[in-house]
């Protein structure tokens, strides 16, 4: 299974980063082989809409699950559109996050877990979908 973990840095030993939208790096891992690669999160430096951008990045990577901490309402709405499961980790390294996931110790979020930081000036996105969804991978 291919999963993404929000992290402060690249690699399996990098510290986990709990803020999804502003997380500097996403480490994408194959849980069977532990092969991994790290990609910069373009949302980290976004002027606004960080979570949306981060979520789009994750969706474009075709991962099957995300491990993060605080996922705001906008980001969650985007991940929801693709039916991408989000698992909540509290702290440690990327490797520890993957291990916790593999042993079934992480709980799955059923709603946004982080505050609406609101892109520009505090607006909260409602994220109303206007398209017809194709079923996402899960």
């Amino acid at each position: 299974m291919i999963i993404a973990v929000s992290a402060l840095d690249g690699g399996l030993e990098a510290p986990f980063h709990r803020s999804f939208g502003r997380s500097p790096v996403f480490v994408v891992i194959d849980t069977e082989t532990m092969n991994h690669r790290s990609l910069a999160n373009p949302g980290a430096a976004a002027g606004g809409g960080a979570g949306i951008r981060a979520a789009q990045t994750i969706l474009d990577e075709k991962v099957e699950a995300l491990i993060s901490g605080d996922v705001g309402p906008n980001a969650y709405a985007v991940l929801q559109a693709a039916h991408l499961p989000v698992y909540i980790f509290s702290g440690g390294t990327v490797r520890q996050a993957v291990e916790a996931f593999r042993s079934g110790r992480l709980s799955r979020a059923d709603q946004a877990t982080g505050p609406a930081r609101g892109g520009i000036g505090g607006g909260m996105g409602t994220g109303v979908g206007r398209g017809r969804g194709r079923r996402g991978r899960s």
Partner: protein, 299 residues
Amino acid sequence: MIITVASGKGGTGKTTVATALALAAAARARPVYLLDCDVEEPNAHLFVNPAIESERAVGILTPVVDAEKCDGCRHCAEVCSFNAIAAYGRTVLVFNELCHGCGNCSNLCPTGAIREELRPTGSVERGWAGGVKAADGWAGGTGAIHFIRGTLNVGEAMAVPVIREVKKEARDAPRGALVIIDAPPGTSCPTVECLKGADYALLVTEPTPFGLHDLKLAVEVARDQLGRRVGVIINRDGLGDGRTEDYCRGEGIPVLMKIPHDRRIAVAYSDGIPLTEALDGYTEKFRALLERLATEVGR
């Protein structure tokens, strides 16, 4: 002539100056337009008591995606500079609150699946302040001020689209008209929008360290970046120290007027009485100021 009354720091007296200018200039031959562009907190009306004749909703053009035409290319999400669109397959999510209405997504959609719809974020009202009272309300005439006010809806973040619409209302101003723009405080986009097209930036400050600090920022934006002519009005003169004047002298910026730190002005302000009525001589002072600016600007 377009004069934008701006400041760095808030609460220095922009509206006091803008309304006094408008009232002093009214009753003269040239038409006067007073544009309250401090759309997050418009308050010029309190001092000129306008009769509002019309109101229209203004806002931002936001995208609406036609699912039948969308082929899921995700180009809209890629070209959005504000991360207001996410796309997964043919599911396109639009986050209206983040949309700046730039039109990239609709213009660049390869299948023409995106149209734009106005999302109201505020209103623009227009009317008259003073002048001749006709059967159906104020009707302009001698002493009248074209009064235009923008209001940003509570909870909205972007003032610029509303300010642009306020400014449009003065496009019909005849040659020789005097347009006074009461700008919001600060030096960010809304203030820049108010300074665009202005012949003169009248910067109101108070002679305190904070006032001076923000005045410098305002000069950087108005004069150095936008190339506007700038002049300073020092309000609450008597407070603080002489550093503001030293700075203006050093920069070659004229100090056009000093308004004293006078309790009578504060009392009048709290009652909605404009400066021109609060203290004797200010109508004449502001008229002299206008003449000086007109000469300098050449309009």
